[in-house]
Amino acid sequence: MIPTEWVLALSAVLFTIGVVGVLVRRNALVIFMSIELMLNAANLAFVAFARQQQSLDGQIFVFFVMTVAAAEVAVGLAIIVNLFRLRETVFVDEINLLKG
């Protein structure tokens, strides 16, 4: 039996990796991937809690999160593609028309 704390720690580290990824990378796609990591970390936590509590709610939540993630990916990638078409770049540090 894997202690919930372990899983939780793992998910926390994974989440942090995601956060760091968002913070350090400049490629919009990679940033987006890092966000996916964060979502997955949350999912992991859900699953762990679901197991601890012998309830399915957590797993259901994961299911919904995946759906949301999929939807987000669709929209997000469309936006990034559009961005690339307009500007020939996916680097977020080259995009600061709007500032101040």
């Binding site: 995601g18 919009a28 987006f32 966000i35 957590g58 939540f61 987000e72 307009l86 995009i95």
Partner: protein, 489 residues
Amino acid sequence: MNIVPQPTFLALDWWALGPVIALTVGAILLLLLEFLPQRANGNRGGIVSLLTFLFSGYAVWRVAGEKRELFGGMFVHDPMTVFFTMLFCSVGLLATLMSWDYVKRTKINQAEYYALLLSSVLGMIVMAASNDLITVFLGLELMSLALYVMVGFRRSRLESNEAALKYFLLGAFASGFLLYGIALLYGATGTTNLAMIGAFLADTPLSTNPMLLMGSLLVFVGFGFKVAAAPFHMWTPDVYEGAPTSVTGFMSAGAKAAGFAALLRVALRALGPVMADWTQMLAVIAFLTMTVGNVTALLQGNLKRMLAYSSIAHAGYILVAVAAGGPEGASAAVFYLATYSFMNIGAFAVLTMLGKGREERVLMSDLQGLGFREPLLGLALTAFMLSLAGIPPMAGFMGKLYIFGEAVKHPQLLWVVIAGVLNSVVSVYYYLRVTVALYMKEPEGEPVGISWGAPAVVAIVLTLAATLYFGLQAQGLWIQAQNSVMGLL
């Protein structure tokens, strides 16, 4: 536990679900109607969404006095739902009206625009009406996704696309926090149902449980992002500026209100027992939010950007109410959100009319001399600005009155109240800059063209009426706001 409950729907439930159904049907209908040819410059989308919003509002108003819990608490029909549903429908309605001609002249008049508008309002309603973190999250994502797209709707426009990208990336980032927070809350309490979380916390005082703390904190980050609380506010100006003006108006009112609705519900229902620990922190955040918003707005030359900062500042004021806590504070926040929505949409409705064709003339300098050239437009904009500044007899004043009136009851919040009122003085400066440009400067360069359109005028008139009426006679709205949080399910 009965795992397969037989849903027994009363007529009441159908009416209560009316907005959800109507908005879904409306959105799908709009997409389906695309198969039928329509005239160039047709208004099919607008008409359908108008009717949808009207029906939604009607449906929920019909059963306004009832309280029901549907889907095992996933969706509740209580006064707060009613209030916010009506508010979101009005926001949607006004957004439709001000989009009407704007989308035509900016060449984004597509059925999808209205479909997304409807979906986004649906998301908002779900956020406000759900008593479960799952639905809160889904509603938030529904609203956000639709908004991401709407922000980037002028996709050939660099700013629009950039705004969409930023909004999307940061929104997803914040969603990550929110989600993780929900996970922790779930872990700490074993449920995602707000009422049950509240009950759990009331039974087992665990306010020091770090999991709970971190969970609620991260949830707050997620909502804080949506309502643009400092320091999660930084996307706001860029997104507001880049988005099509009608969308900015819509999201500035709707998304913020939805974010606060969810926040309030979570705070009141689930975290009520632990909110006292949050007061000081919320006060600090409120202070930071309004100060940053107001001070940064001082020197903005772009009206949309300025209003974006102003919306941050307003989030700060509302957070003061949230910090004041309890049903009273919440009702103040609710009241403020309603008044804020009207005046802000009104201001944006005026902005949508500036410029001809695809041009966007929302710089401060574009307003110069407009006040006397277009007296009514100038008057309306002035009224909205004064209301935003919180000067009587406009609705914004009543909102501030309510919030600060609730906050002064707590001696530990006095400092933030004083900071708040001083902040509103600072804000007056930049709101006055608009009137200065309108009335006190001679026009420079090419005078801005006005794209008159009856729907936008209707929107302005409606918001103006609301702004003035609630400023002069706030009793009704006040009672509604109180009821909305008193009878929370």
